[in-house]
Amino acid sequence: MCLGIPGKVIEIYQANDMKMGKVDFGGVIKETCLEFLPDIQVGDYTIIHVGFGISQLDEEEAQRTLEMLREMEMLADELPELDGGLQT
């Protein structure tokens, strides 16, 4: 229930006085209530829970995090016994 995954807003419309939208999760399209995301627009990414968008993902913050981590000095193969351990 709490494993919201990110999807891209591809359409926005009104229904029953609520901001609704279609959100694309890697090809699976879900109808979603976007009432809690007044600023979200087509092309933005959101995380949905039980049919409601709760978050508008922040591209700049996302890039900043990844860059910071990638810049960390050490090399992964310093610890070879970790190889192949990640099952994701």
Partner: protein, 373 residues
Amino acid sequence: MKYLDEYRDGELTKKVLVEIEKTVTRPWKIMEVCGGQTHSIIKSGLDQLLPPEIDLVHGPGCPVCVTPLELIDKAIALASQPDIIFTSYGDMLRVPGSERDLFSVKAAGGDVRIVYSPLDALKIAQDNPEKTVVFFGIGFETTAPANAMAVMQAKNQGIENFAMLVSHVTVPPAITALLESPDVQVNGFLAAGHVCTVMGYWEYEQLVEKYKVPVVVMGFEPVDIARALLMCVKQLEEGRAEVENAYARSVNPDGNQPAQDIINQVFKHTDRAWRGIGVIPKSGYQLQDAYAQYDAELRFPEIQTIAPQEPSVCISGLVLQGLKKPNECTAFGVQCTPENPLGATMVSSEGACAAYYQYGRYAISLEEDKITR
């Protein structure tokens, strides 16, 4: 997929793990609060790649698992009534009540329907005016705005044959209860990223101040988890206790204001029992008086009188407080499996017992000789 693949990058995760290994000098017990995160950690095997000093314990943040037995029994009583259509998130159907589960009510001919969103339950109510549709409103702050919206829409659209069996719980009071408990010795907390997406993380500032424990807001992918752990370990090693945000692409300090507004309009705080743990003061939501007509417990007062019994072998209460790991339970994988669960932590994919079972963390001995360094 964007915002997903880059956070599942094994190389990047390993880099962060190496940094954790370099940083840690002493044993630390760190709790991830959210069941979704427990699932990610066990699925990715991250728990087995951490340096031995770090003991990751699993927290109470599985909404299905902590829904009290009393409310499961009430749900079963409602679902058994012929003029009620009972709607619920799918996970709840297999959760054992005192005598049976919702699934067996459905098998016996009860009208129990799985919905993906509370708005689907509302639609069912509109389509079936001769029946009352009861929705099982469970979850943490992540589902509260959605469930609040369904109740508000019912009122605005005049849909009177809709009611909600409310069993909402909130995270900060549960963390406080764990910190107050003399048995629980957790050095740092990894806060639930999506709860904080809705609520922000200002509520944790006081907690950190009072109990001097680091709290790091964490996402759900391996890179996010490793990074949050690194931030938490750094704080612990440096003797700091602060609230830090390791999930800034989704979480800001104040959270989602429109979502909080609707929670506050529709719900008010109440004391709530957590399954296996007991009553935690002001740890749940119930409907505001203005929405009392949608409260299933008030509309069907006959369900009030149930006094439930837990199976004695199940230690899920200890599992939910991080005091025991699932594979320390004698029933784990023997009498208790996902097909035949004794406790709710074996039912939900967010339950620690189910995650341990699904990803093969069978025996404690296996845990001990997994990585020899």
